[in-house]
């Protein structure tokens, strides 16, 4: 086929370009991932007692993971457009993580010196990052699928962003069954779980995000 024929073929009845394709793929992927990870968290780990919702603990986790998911989604959308500058997306993500770190540090400072380590480690520090990673896997598959259907020209970075999005979504799900109360715990171990998912996404990106 001659190139002119191909152009003719592509342009005929082409209509308008699709609008906001990144949002249209990323939002459903994130919401499906959230639903699956929330169900899995409650089914596997059990739900936290309803009384805990009267404390700030679960809300802190949900707010942290939720805003980080928004920043990661923004970053994924930027990385899904060829040649697009990242705008403020990386800074937004860093700001969310730093704000959580500051909150965690402040809560540690307010603890009596003897109980700081106990607050930081809680009683599930070793399982929390792994659980977040495991609960993020469905969202990771969905997010990578969403980004793959767009046009990522930096597959490793795009995979990392998709992993951060999935990790944050998985952390939202885990928050529903995590009884830890210290913001310092969230700042360290949730962040580690999300970062692990980001690293997995970055490792998968070059292989999976081909188009």
């Amino acid at each position: 086929m001659k190139t002119d024929t191909l152009i003719e073929l592509l342009a005929r009845d082409a209509g308008a370009a699709p609008r906001a394709p990144a949002a249209r793929r990323l939002w459903p992927a994130a919401l499906i991932g959230l639903l699956v990870s929330a169900c899995a968290a409650i089914a596997v780990f059990g739900a936290i007692p309803a009384a805990l919702y009267a404390t700030p603990a679960p809300w802190t986790k949900l707010a942290y993971a939720g805003t980080l998911a928004l920043a990661a989604g923004w970053l994924s959308a930027r990385l899904s457009r060829p040649a697009a500058p990242l705008a403020g997306a990386p800074r937004a993500g860093a700001a969310v993580v730093l704000a959580m770190a500051a909150l965690g540090a402040a809560s540690l400072a307010a603890e009596p010196a003897g109980s700081r380590v106990a607050a930081l480690l809680g009683h599930s520090w070793w399982s929390c990052p792994v659980s977040v990673l495991a609960l993020s896997l469905p969202a990771l598959a969905a997010a990578l699928w969403a980004v793959r259907g767009l046009a990522p020209t930096r597959p490793r970075a795009a995979g990392f962003a998709a992993g951060l999005l999935a990790g944050s979504v998985g952390a939202c799900g885990y928050a529903l069954s995590c009884p830890e109360v210290s913001p310092a715990f969230v700042a360290v171990w949730y962040t580690l779980g999300i970062a692990l998912t980001g690293a997995l996404g970055a490792a998968l990106g070059p292989r999976v995000l081909r188009w």
């Binding site: 001659k2 002119d4 152009i7």
Partner: protein
């Protein structure tokens, strides 16, 4: 093809700087960050006629019309871009001239499928070059080739300054590949795109709804792009 060499150095840097690619990021002198700032400022503040890149300033309004649904403008844009992409790719595939047209067609197909990812804040040519470069790297990777990736970094024709109107002929025949599509997709493409029926006429002919025809056309083109990647001559 060497038209770019006559440009003042500063504008050439600005052009290169608008491409944000991992490959393009390794500027030993650290000029890139600064240059991209210049390019972005230039795009925002300079009136179109003062911009040294006449191609971009004449392409962009046409492209925005195409994005809004003007098929004639879209056809014109693709024709203009094809000639520039051909020159861009020919420079980078100088040892494999018979692969140039295949890659031009692959890039056009990818641009069409991903036209929603164009950000109006960006130069159209920067977006097109990013896709062409991605297709080029993918092409090399699939063939296990590494050579040629380096000299692409600092070239000044990143903004598609050179024109090459000569369609050297594609080796891969998309029409043959079309026959490997599922029948419904193939039929939708042949009727609306090759035989020139309107979507409504094609719907009438096949008994499918108009929106189903559109979906089949889009899926078919996506599948065609996937087939192009899978089928590797040699």
């Amino acid at each position: 093809m060497q038209a770019s060499a006559t440009l003042p150095l500063s504008s050439a840097h600005a052009f290169v700087g608008t491409i944000r690619e991992p490959l393009a990021g390794r500027d030993p002198e650290g000029r890139r960050g600064q240059a991209s700032g210049i390019a972005r400022t230039a795009c925002r503040e300079m009136p179109a006629d003062a911009h040294p890149d006449d191609f971009e300033s004449s392409l962009k309004p046409l492209w925005l019309r195409a994005q809004a649904g003007d098929d004639a403008a879209y056809r014109r844009c693709l024709t203009l871009l094809a000639a520039r992409l051909r020159a861009y790719l020919r420079r980078r595939l100088s040892a494999f001239p018979d692969e140039v047209e295949d890659l031009v067609q692959e890039t056009l197909l990818a641009m069409h499928l991903q036209r929603g990812t164009y950000d109006p804040a960006l130069p159209v040519s920067a977006w097109a070059v990013a896709i062409a470069r991605h297709k080029l790297v993918d092409h090399w990777r699939r063939r296990g080739r590494r050579e040629g990736l380096h000299d692409a970094i600092d070239d000044v024709d990143e903004q598609l300054l050179a024109v090459d109107a000569d369609d050297g002929g594609a080796r891969r025949d998309l029409e043959t590949l079309l026959q490997d599509l599922p029948p419904a997709q193939q039929q939708a493409i042949v009727l609306t795109k090759l035989e020139g029926l309107s979507v409504a006429e094609a719907a009438q002919r096949t008994g499918a709804s108009a929106s189903a025809i559109k979906v089949q056309v889009h899926r078919g083109l996506k599948r065609l792009a996937a087939l192009v990647r899978r089928e590797d001559p040699r």
